[in-house]
């Protein structure tokens, strides 16, 4: 007899004795199913054949939403026959769909449900997010699915490097990124009630792969998802060039997450974000980034200081428009005003400075081109002449030193 079976036999014997004793004195009502199960499962150290804990905290269950509804253990563990105990070692998995058919159906269409179907054994199921015997209503502050706890719940997998690596979870350790993001910080701050957590963007039973057009994190839908809270930004974006391109079906045009990232979103006015987002503009506007980096503005921001003009300082952020559009911040009509944001007394002459002059483009900037060519020639000439001069001179002086050294000895 294995130890677990021994325990079970002893407990059952005790149970039988208790019944006998009770029956002998007062004809009490039969104990509830839950109490019957807890006779064994209340033992904190109770273990199954494989050494897994089979303990159930009766108090927690009683406090859970299912306990509150007076559900019996067998409502979920339907293949346990209370009159034939002990029940077999191996029970069927609990089927939540018995009651929650709609939710379970939704789940099968989610990334998690699809991954399970595809053989991924660690993808989240009902119990990973909701718990087992201790399930609480989401509005309960202690619930795993409460707004305040969602981040921690999702992060048990998506913020755990081991699980991320084992399950090849998309995006890597996004739990950590999110925790340090502006949304993650807001969730532990004064606005914690209204700050978005994972499910606000991804949904709960509707989490879908972002490749799915119905997913709220689908590339085409992101401006609407973010815009649900950031309404004025969305409005500006829709009017701007990038938003217009999206409306014309150019999905490559940047959306919110291209500049702000998805999980690691940083506050927009921090030096790090201000100087890093320049590189994002450069992923499409490479030429303009290169010519910007040739200017004082671009050099200072490249060193990590954000007090200088960045792309958005002149072009605007969400409302960016081409210079040909009169409403653009860099249009002929508005350019001087834009310069004056920083250079208060700037004149029309001042505003005719070209912040994207290209030293390699003869057609665009002939004067600048030839000035650069002249400087290149001057540098080359001086370094070539003195380079040769120095090499020869060094050779001759070393030889003379060696020769005079020999004479002396």
């Amino acid at each position: 007899m294995r130890p677990a079976q021994t325990i079970r036999a002893i407990l059952l014997a005790g149970l039988a004795a208790a019944f006998a004793a009770q029956a002998a004195t007062t004809p009490a009502p039969a104990p509830s199913v839950t109490d019957t199960c807890l006779m064994c499962h209340a033992d904190k150290d109770a273990k199954g054949a494989a050494g897994n804990s089979i303990a159930v905290d009766g108090a927690k269950f009683a406090a859970s939403v299912h306990g509150e509804m007076k559900l019996k253990c067998t409502d979920c563990h339907a293949d346990v026959a209370v009159d034939k105990l002990p029940h077999p070692e191996k029970l069927k998995p609990v089927n939540c769909a018995t009651c929650h058919a709609k939710e379970v159906k939704e789940y099968t269409g989610t990334v998690h449900g699809q991954a399970r179907k595809g053989g991924n054994s660690i993808a989240a199921t009902c119990t990973d997010c909701h718990g087992k015997h201790d399930i609480l209503r989401s509005k309960d502050a202690a619930a795993r699915t409460n707004h305040a706890n969602i981040e921690a719940t999702c992060s048990t997998c998506h913020g755990n490097d081991t699980v991320v690596a084992k399950g090849k979870l998309p995006g890597g350790n996004i739990g950590g990124k999110f925790h340090d993001s502006i949304h993650g910080k807001a969730l532990i701050g004064a606005a914690k009630g209204s700050a978005p957590t994972c499910t606000n963007c991804h949904g709960a039973h509707s989490i879908q792969p972002k490749a799915d057009e119905n997913s709220r994190t689908n590339r085409a839908r992101i401006p609407d998802t973010c815009g649900a809270c950031h309404t004025s930004e969305r409005e500006a974006y829709v009017k701007g060039m990038h938003g217009k391109l999206r409306q014309d079906g150019v999905l490559a045009a940047p959306g919110c997450t291209d500049c702000h990232s998805a999980h690691g979103i940083q506050q927009h006015d921090t030096p790090l974000f201000q100087t890093e987002v320049i590189k994002e503009c450069g992923t499409c506007h490479a030429d303009y980034l290169a010519t910007y980096r040739d200017t004082f503005h671009g050099q200072v921001t490249a060193l990590g200081y954000s007090r200088m003009a960045t792309c958005a300082s002149c072009h605007g952020a969400h409302e960016v428009l081409p210079a040909s559009n009169p409403a653009s911040k860099v249009s002929k009509q508005n350019r001087l005003k834009t310069c004056q944001q920083c250079h208060a007394n700037a004149s029309a002459n001042f505003a005719s400075f070209d912040p994207h002059a290209n030293r390699h483009d003869k057609a665009r900037d002939p004067l600048f081109y030839w000035a650069a060519k002249f400087m290149e020639l001057l540098l080359f000439g001086v370094f070539a002449f003195f380079g040769i001069h120095t090499v020869f001179w060094l050779y001759r002086e070393v030889r003379e030193k060696l020769a005079s050294g020999k004479e002396r000895h």
Binding site: Y305, A344, N349, R359, F368, L378, V382, F392
Partner: protein, 292 residues
């Protein structure tokens, strides 16, 4: 070297060192004003170079580190402008002192032409040719007069640099003011040439000027003449035989004799000049590293 070791200078009128460093005579080569101006130029140049280079190489990791060490963009910018302002004062002082002294002494023509002038002479072209012949072993080491052609190049490079870098720097320092008169493209070109010319100046001074003046085997590791103002008679004869002969022939030699270099000027030269050399070499290492 203390005064005691060099006292019997008069005992050796031929000026030859006796092999023990005794009886070495010294000739004045730079005035106190010139030495002070060079030291200020040196310090402000290094200051401008170190604070300006991070911008030229802003995309290199070392640039951000160097900028941070120098007080960030604000701190480095302030150092850069202070150094630039002092450098302009040094330059103007030099030009004013030079011309007023020449005018007062009636030596304006000698300043503008001839062997004592910084203005390039036909002899300089001949010297370049002969120096290259010597380099390749086809002739004797040329004998130079007061200023060699490479020294004149250094000198005029500063003039050219002051105009180009100083001028463009002022435009970039006060863009709103100058834009009242000048069109925007001038500032584009000012920014371009400020950086390029600065790279040329830094690249030149920290390599060729260092080599020509200090690091070549004859001078290694440092020629202190610019700090002490004095050159030994032996060195003068070895390096500038034409000038030496001219001084003797014109009877100016005895008047040019000076006490040996002071301890203070030598210490200053070794420490401050040495620090400038070291910083310059570090800057060159960073620049060269950036191109690979």
């Amino acid at each position: 070297m203390t005064a005691a070791t060099v006292t019997p200078a008069a005992a050796r009128p031929d000026g030859q060192a006796d092999g023990n460093g005794l009886a070495q005579r010294y000739v004045r080569r730079f005035t106190a004003t010139e030495r002070v101006l060079h030291s200020l130029l040196m310090l402000t140049f290094v200051g401008c170079a170190l604070t300006g280079l991070p911008l030229v190489f802003a995309d290199r990791p070392w640039a951000a580190t160097l900028a941070r060490i120098l007080g960030g963009f604000e701190g480095a910018g302030l150092i850069h402008r202070i150094c630039a302002a002092v450098m302009i004062v040094v330059f103007v002082t030099h030009v004013v002192v030079m011309f007023s002294k020449a005018l007062a002494g009636g030596r304006l023509m000698r300043l503008l032409w001839g062997p004592d002038s910084m203005v390039p002479q036909p002899q300089d072209a001949i010297d370049i040719y002969h120096n290259f012949l010597w380099f390749i072993g086809r002739g004797p080491r040329p004998q130079f007069d007061r200023w060699t052609y490479w020294e004149k190049f250094d000198y005029w490079a500063v003039f050219w640099g002051m105009m180009i870098i100083g001028g463009s720097g002022l435009l970039l320092w006060f863009p709103v003011f100058f834009a009242r008169i000048l069109p925007g493209w001038v500032f584009n070109i000012a920014a371009l040439v400020h950086g390029e010319e600065a790279l040329l100046a830094v690249g030149f001074i920290f390599t060729f000027h260092f080599f020509n003046g200090h690091l070549r085997p004859d001078k290694f590791p440092m020629d202190t003449v610019i700090f002490t103002g004095r050159v030994s008679e032996r060195e003068l004869k070895h390096e500038r035989a034409v000038e030496y002969a001219r001084m003797v022939k014109e009877g100016r030699f005895d008047a040019a004799l000076a006490p040996p270099p002071t301890q203070e000027s030598l210490v200053f030269g070794w420490i401050v000049g040495g620090a400038a050399l070291l910083l310059g070499i570090i800057a060159i290492v960073l620049i060269v590293y950036s191109f690979f």
